[in-house]
Structure formats: C-alpha cells, structure tokens
Symmetry: C2
Subunit: 524 residues, 2 copies
C-alpha cells in the first residue's frame, strides 16, 4: 500500500514511478510505510491545482490567511505526541527537549507569527505618493515550491516550516516536496494542513504534497511557468541544479545551501574565559549531532600557549561527549567523506573517538590545520563537514588571521569572541569589517546555533551560503518578501485600489509610508 499524495484538496493515489521507505537512523532499519516517487503527472496536477488556487488566494484577505495558519498551528498541537514520536523515529532526534519542547513549539510559533503578519499587512510595505498619484505594495506572487531539509522535521518542514508559513502568509499556495528522510512526519503535518484548508475555507489546492520526484522532474517543476518562486533548503549540489533550472526560466529561487559558520576566538577572550567558551563551543558544535545550518564548522584561533591549552580542553570535551545519532546513512557517508578529505589533505585529527554504534554515527571530531596551509587552498579547507565535526585553523599572527577571514566564502553566520577589558579590540577592528561582508549574521560572544525567529533575523548570507544576499529564510515578516512581487498602481481610481492602498487604513494598525512618513493612520 503506497501512501497517496495530496493534490487539489484531496489525497489521491500517486502516479508513481517507484516507491521508497524511510529508515530509522537509530536502528538502520527500514520503516514499514511505502511512499511514492511521483512521475511528472503528479507535478502537473499539483501545478494546475496550485495555479487555480493562486487566482483565488491573491484576493484573499489577510484575516483568512491568518485563520488558516492558526487553525493549522492548533491542529499540529492537537497531534503533538504522534508527530513527535514519528519525527523521532524518522530522524533519531531526541524527543525532549529537542522535538517536543523546542522544535514543535517553534514551528507553531512561526505559523502564528506569520498569521499575525498576514492579518496586520505591514509586511506589504504600502507606499502612497499622493503628489505623483502612485501607490505601491508587495503582493502575492503565485504557487511556491518548497523543498525542505533533512535536519528539521518540523520547523523547516516543506508543509509546515518557515518557508511554508511565509509563502502562505504572503498569499501563495504551496507545492511541498517532502524530505525523503521524514515522509511520515510530513504526511501527518499535511493531514493537518488539509483539515485547516477545509476549516478556513481556503481554495482547494492551497496545499499540495508530493514525496519525491526524479531530479529532472524537480528541475522542470521549479522552472514551470505556473510557479511563482521556490524555497529550497538542503545540499549545495542538489540546490545548484534547481537554481540553474529556475534561473534559466526567470523564476526566483531562494536557496539555503551550506555554511561553515566561522567562529573567531581572540586571545584575550581565551585568557579571560577560555573554559566557558570551550563549553559553549562544544555544546554548539555537538548539539543535534552538529546537524544545523549554523553549526560552527570552522574555528579560527591565533597561535599561543593559551590557545594550545584551549584546544586541549576542546579535545577532552569532544572525546568525553556522547556520540549522537546522525539523520541518515547519507549524512553519515557525507560526513565521513568530508572528514576523510580534510585528513588526507593534511589536517591533523585531534580527537580519538571511534563513533561506532547501532545507528548511523560518526565520532565527535576536531581537526586542525595551520593558517599557512589553509591559505594555500582556502576552498579545500572550507569543505563542509555537516555533522559533529569542526576544523580548527591556527593563524600565526593577526595579518594571517585577516587573510584567512578575507579568503572565506559566503556564510550564514560569523562570530567573534573578544575579551571585555579591551585587549582584543585592535584585533576585532581588523577582522570584523572583513568578516562582516562574508556573512549574513555577525555575532559577538555567542555561538551561531539558535536562530531566533525575530523580525531582525537574517538567516541568509552571500553566495554560496544562499542564492541571494538580500533575503532571509527565517524571521517574519522579512522572509515573506521572497514570495512577493511589487505591485504599483498609477492613477488607478480610488475604489479600484486594494484595501491596503486606499486612503483609509484598512486595519487602523497597518504601517504604511504616506508621502515619506511611516504611519498607522489614514491618508487625510
């Protein structure tokens, strides 16, 4: 019994070209449920349904979109135990606190923040220029394809996570492509999404779910004329293929690809509070078995005695820490290959763990390379080792540290730890301006894991961390702008303007820019 797909408001048998089963990564055993690998016919049907829904959703009120999102959030909570159990089985992520107490509440919180933004309308950035007789705002774009990653079965899930919430709140239907490592979790979420679609009287076709396609069909999907845009979170290689297809068709695609998230720890900080920082680093690097987009994969230190003892402390902690389970066979394989590549290129392995277990796993690993070697081939040394591994780079002096920072690729985050008495300030001032332009989020004295859902968050950054340096994947309302187009109205008669651009403020609370002034008032 192959599970059906969700298209046009109903579960229906897939036009399947094959099937697949997920695994329990903690036992390496296949799970019973069979899921379809859809042929193009399913994509075609999903596109038709989504395009039809888009015509209705474009006109939907923010309140209706909000109602859907809120009903959906409540529906997820009503099935929390079952969802957590399924996600735990499919991902081996801990039930508590991770799935139950952190990720599921984060997910429903995102949906509710998106609901609030949809209802409020300020995200549409309405601009009224009465002198020129022109008004403008952001508006829905059309069906959004969402490809979710393996590492957040709830919060980045293609049918319940951040991209989904942002796309819907901006007034777009979604075609969700499940991540193959957690189809069951995605199915349960989709069931609740469908119930919410019905309860909030959304057009059928607002939410679609397909589990897997061929790569060729995925590329055809994101390039289809009916698509508005695509949100993708996952590996660089698969993401860049989708990007090429979407780019060639002139379709926006937002990608969150890979990031090694450099952490620079300056000598004064090590002298002042090395033990505390070591603990923070180990915690951040091994949490979730290191499987975060913002996992600190590269640590830049300056050579010195205290640095050596600091590294020894890290090594002790890595050796002592429990080895977590990885999300899948392919995560384990890729991590092994990346670590192997760095080692065979001359990185010194500092840790001594073996990382053998019943489930997929890899020893907690710290590698080390000298700055000179790093600079001889910066691209090689920035190979992402996704998981519980990190590379320590030791610069011989400030100038070399600056060169290393300047040689970094685009990243989601970059951190600098410095002391509080000022001895690191000179170094900070040399390195921070260089690091600033390599990363979307610059941190001080704090590890990069933990991505607050804040309006000021940038979970984005320069290529190749993402596909565009001006957008964030996390943070409401900013993340919604990815799924919007700019609508200008020139001399359009007042009664024909959308509510948000009429003289009267539609909610009495929506922020609009009227003749250069931001206001919640009416145009008077």
């Amino acid at each position: 019994m192959t599970r059906p797909v969700l298209i046009a408001g109903a579960w229906r048998a897939a036009a399947a070209a094959g099937t697949f089963q997920a695994e329990n990564p903690a036992t390496r055993e296949k799970l019973a449920d069979e899921y379809p690998i859809s042929s193009w016919a399913d994509c075609e049907a999903a596109l038709t349904a989504a395009a039809s829904a888009a015509k209705v959703l474009r006109q939907a009120s923010g309140s209706q979109l909000a109602e859907f999102l809120e009903v959906f959030a409540a529906g997820i909570e009503s099935r929390a135990a079952e969802l957590v159990e399924m996600a735990h089985t499919e991902s081996a992520l801990p039930v508590s606190p991770r799935l139950k107490d952190v990720e599921l509440p984060r997910t429903t919180g995102q949906l509710r923040q998106a609901a609030k933004a949809a209802r409020d309308g300020s995200w549409r950035h309405a601009i009224l220029d009465t002198g020129a007789g022109i008004r403008a705002c952001y508006a829905a774009l059309g069906p959004v394809c969402v490809f979710g990653p393996n590492n957040f079965p709830f919060a980045f899930n293609s049918i319940a996570g951040g991209d989904f919430a942002a796309a819907i709140a901006a007034g777009n239907p979604v075609i969700a492509k499940a991540n193959s490592s957690h189809p069951g979790t995605t199915r349960l979420l989709a069931e609740q999404a469908l119930l919410a679609e019905q309860e909030a009287r959304m057009p059928s076709g607002t939410v679609q779910l397909i589990y897997r396609t061929s790569h060729a069909d995925g590329e055809k999907l994101v390039a289809d004329p009916r698509v508005g845009a695509t949100g993708y979170t996952g590996s660089r290689s698969a993401g860049l293929k989708l990007k090429a297809a979407a780019d060639a068709a002139g379709k926006p695609i937002y990608l969150e690809l890979s990031s090694i998230n450099p952490v620079v720890i300056l000598p004064g900080a090590i002298a002042e509070r090395g033990d505390k920082i070591a603990e923070e680093f180990t915690g951040s690097c091994l949490m979730g078995t290191g499987q975060f987009c913002t996992n600190p994969g590269l640590v830049l230190l300056l050579a010195g005695d205290k640095t050596s003892s600091f590294v020894e402390k890290l090594v002790q902690q890595f050796n002592a820490a429990a080895v977590g389970t990885l999300l899948s066979a392919s995560v384990a394989k890729n991590l092994g290959e990346a670590v192997g590549k760095l080692k065979s290129s001359g990185a010194q392995e500092l840790t001594a763990g073996k990382g053998e277990g019943r489930g997929y796993c890899h020893a907690n690993t710290l590698l080390q390379v000298q700055g000179e070697k790093f600079l001889a081939d910066p691209e090689l040394w920035q190979t992402e080792a996704f998981g519980n591994a990190s590379l320590i780079v030791v610069a011989k002096n400030a100038a070399q540290a600056a060169q290393i920072v300047d040689s970094l690729e685009g990243n989601l985050t970059g951190c600098i730890y410095s002391d509080t008495s000022g001895s690191d300030d000179n170094l900070y001032d040399q390195l921070a301006p260089l690091l600033r332009f390599k990363v979307g989020r610059l941190l001080n004295d704090k590890m990069p894991t933990g991505v607050a859902v804040s309006p000021a968050m940038n979970h984005g950054g320069p290529y190749p961390a993402t596909g565009h340096p001006g957008f964030t994947a996390v943070g409401i309302p900013a993340a919604m702008l990815r799924f919007a187009m700019l609508h200008c109205y020139d001399n359009v008669r007042p009664e024909r303007l959308p509510d948000i651009l009429q003289d009267k403020n539609p909610t009495g609370k929506t922020w609009r820019n009227i003749n250069g002034q931001w206001t919640q008032g009416d145009l008077s």
Copy 2:
C-alpha cells in the same frame, strides 16, 4: 587618437582590442572620436580598483555619498549645453524639450534624490529587536556593474543614470559600461563624475568607465567574484546572456529587458472620449520615435463600430505625424525586422507611411490582428517592435479579451481605459485582475510613457520584462535595494554597531523599526 578609459581615479590608455566610432543617426555619418574596445586587462584593472574602493565606501557616511552625488549633479548642470549638444548628435533625440528640459533635469533630479536618501538612511530599513538582542539593516554590497541602454543618454546612462545613482547612494563603487551609441555623452558625464569623486574625497575607483568589451568579457565581468551585483537595461538577447553568466556565479543581476506594455481601451471609454484617447495614444506611441521601455506596443480593443472609427482615427494620426529619427542603424534594422515578421505572419498594415529620410527611420506603423489569430500564437504576436510601431489586437468579445490578457508575458506596465459612467466596470473587473499579475505597474486612463521618479514607482515587472518581480529600476529609495545586502547583528556590543543601529537615531530623522513600531526617535 583612441580615447582613454577611466580606471582607479584616472584616465588611462585602454588595453584595447580594437576601436569603434559612434554615428550621428540623423545623418548616418560616423563621428570623429575613436573609442576603445577594451580587452580583459581593462576589466581586471577596473575590478581591482572597484574592489579596493568598495572596502572604503562600505564605511563611508551617507553624507559623504550624498556630497559626491550633489557635486556630480551640479557638475552636469555646469556642462549642460555641451552635454545636450553631444547627446543630440549621438542620439538624434530633440534638444528641446527632450534632452535639455526633460531628460537632463530628470538625471540631476535622480542624483539629488539619491543623495537625500543616502543622507537620510531610512532606505536601509533598520530593524531593532531589543527582546532578541538582534538588529539588522541593508548595507552596501560591493562593486556594481552598470550596462546602460541606448534610449536615454542621460537618465539611464551607465555613469549618471538611475542605476548609477542607486548603486552609489547604497555605498557601492560602479563599473560603467558605456552604451556604444553614445560614448561621447558618457565620456563627458564620466569627466564630471571623476571631478566629483575628487572634490568629495571619495576613494579613487568609486567610478570607472569602459566603453565596450567583447561579449565574453562582459559575461566574465558580471560573474567575477569581486562584483556585488549588476544592473542592465537593454535588449533581451544580450541581457539573458549576461544573466546566465551572473546566475551561474551566484551574482545578483537586475535586468530591464523588453516590454510591449499592453493598453486595453474599453468600448465605453471609446464612446465617451475616443478622440482624446486617440490623441493620447498617438502621442505616447510616437514620442521619442517610440523608443521608450514603456512604449505602448500592443493595444487591445473589443470589436464594434465605434472601435473601427477609433482605429481609423489612430491611422490618420499616425499617417499625418512627422516621422522621427531612430537611435541607430540597429534600432532601425530591428524595428524593420519585427514589423516584417508580424506582417508576414498575417498582421494587417493599417498605416501607409514610407519612412524614408536622411537619418535612420521607419514609417509610423500601426498593425492589426484579430483576437483569434493572436491566441493561436501569443508568443509570436508579442514580438517587441521597439520604435514607432504598435499592434492593435481586436477581440471579438469579453471572453476572448480575457484570454488574450491571460496569455500575455510579463510586462513593465499595463493600462486600462474605461468610461466614467460605469458601463465598462464589468469588463474592467474581468480584465484587471488578470492584467495585474502580468505587469509591474497598472494604470487607469493614462498612457504608460512617463515614469515618475517616485518612491511608489515600480519600473519593473515579471520575467521576461525584468529578471526579478520584486525590484524596481526607477524610484528612490526602492531602486537602491537591488544593490544592498542584509546585515544582521546578533548580540554585537553596542559601541560596535553601525551608527544606524545604535540606540540613538543617527540623524534624528532616520525612520527605523524599533520593536515593531516605525519611528524617527531614539531607542529609549
């Protein structure tokens, strides 16, 4: 004597792979000046200089950027007579009112609006979230390549026009690639830009000028790691090649490619004020010999007696109007080919002009096709005929008109004329929602030419009119967002934050979003 290029703060002999001369399109005679076709060495030098300038400009204050822009604007005015004369010689555009009274003041006005935006800082969209300890704003991106079009020697000039002003005001150096049809105008503008660079103590390398490169070098340029983004206005074919190169390298590129700007004139409007509308249309279509991005190249009418007389009136006006000079041999050639293609595909030629003259020209041309024929091959019938020609499409009824609108490609603009007594309202309500999602700017009762430099303007639209539906090429400050990246600061110590994100409002006037409220105040 081949003219030098402007690189790193000085005019220097080009590393030329050849030379070219512009023509006077009114006489078809080559102009005396020889301009270089740069080899890659010039691009390389320009990139190095711009990358070096970018590191300084990133830290420049808004006031300094503003000073540069204002000195430059004044410098252009001080040489207005010479600039107008040169632009007239190179483009055959009329001296007055076009070049002297409209386009040059528009250009200096844009530079001053950009200066105001740079000084004010509100464009950076600062967001302070004190609860999460996170702050964010837009910031400079890096060197911007600007490729200007042939049809606006001042206002879209690569070293003085809208893209240039937006890029500089956002804190980026510019590598300008002159349009080959007006190198002399561009040279004069660049001379003033260099003087302004020196007077405002901007880093040398803030402005660079190259006249022409091979296509391959152009593609290499926009994909170079040192580039922040590219702004391009021009033909679809050349633009899409640059887009492919930039996309593959993960570099943002903003393109304004082509647009036929559909104008729908409903029956009630024709009955009510057909004569007035006919005059408006003829004026809009033939102004500047039709060489505007927003030229109305497709008119959709509904069949009927009054429509026939309306069309007859247009034909009389087109036949009676003077034939303007086209910008270049290639514009004339492309226009002739496009009109020929439409005619040989079965469009009826309504006008009778010959369009022969000393300069490059083409008869004022109206073609007509029935709705059914249009729908049999919508792509063919949307062939852009850039210049003084337009295609009338006659739909047999409302349903067919809706199908035609729904078959349109992305455009910069779309207009609907309707009567004031309400008889067209039903038709409007059928067509407007379809047209809305095909265009960046929707107009009522107004022709699309005339693009106000307003904060609410959208001179953009869905692909293939542009490369991204969320951005505008005209309108300060919105156009600046194309050349910015999102910078987030997480837990960064207060004194290390950029001015715009500190508790105190840096100007006392900058609009910032503090904990969800837009304010010009300090964080208290």
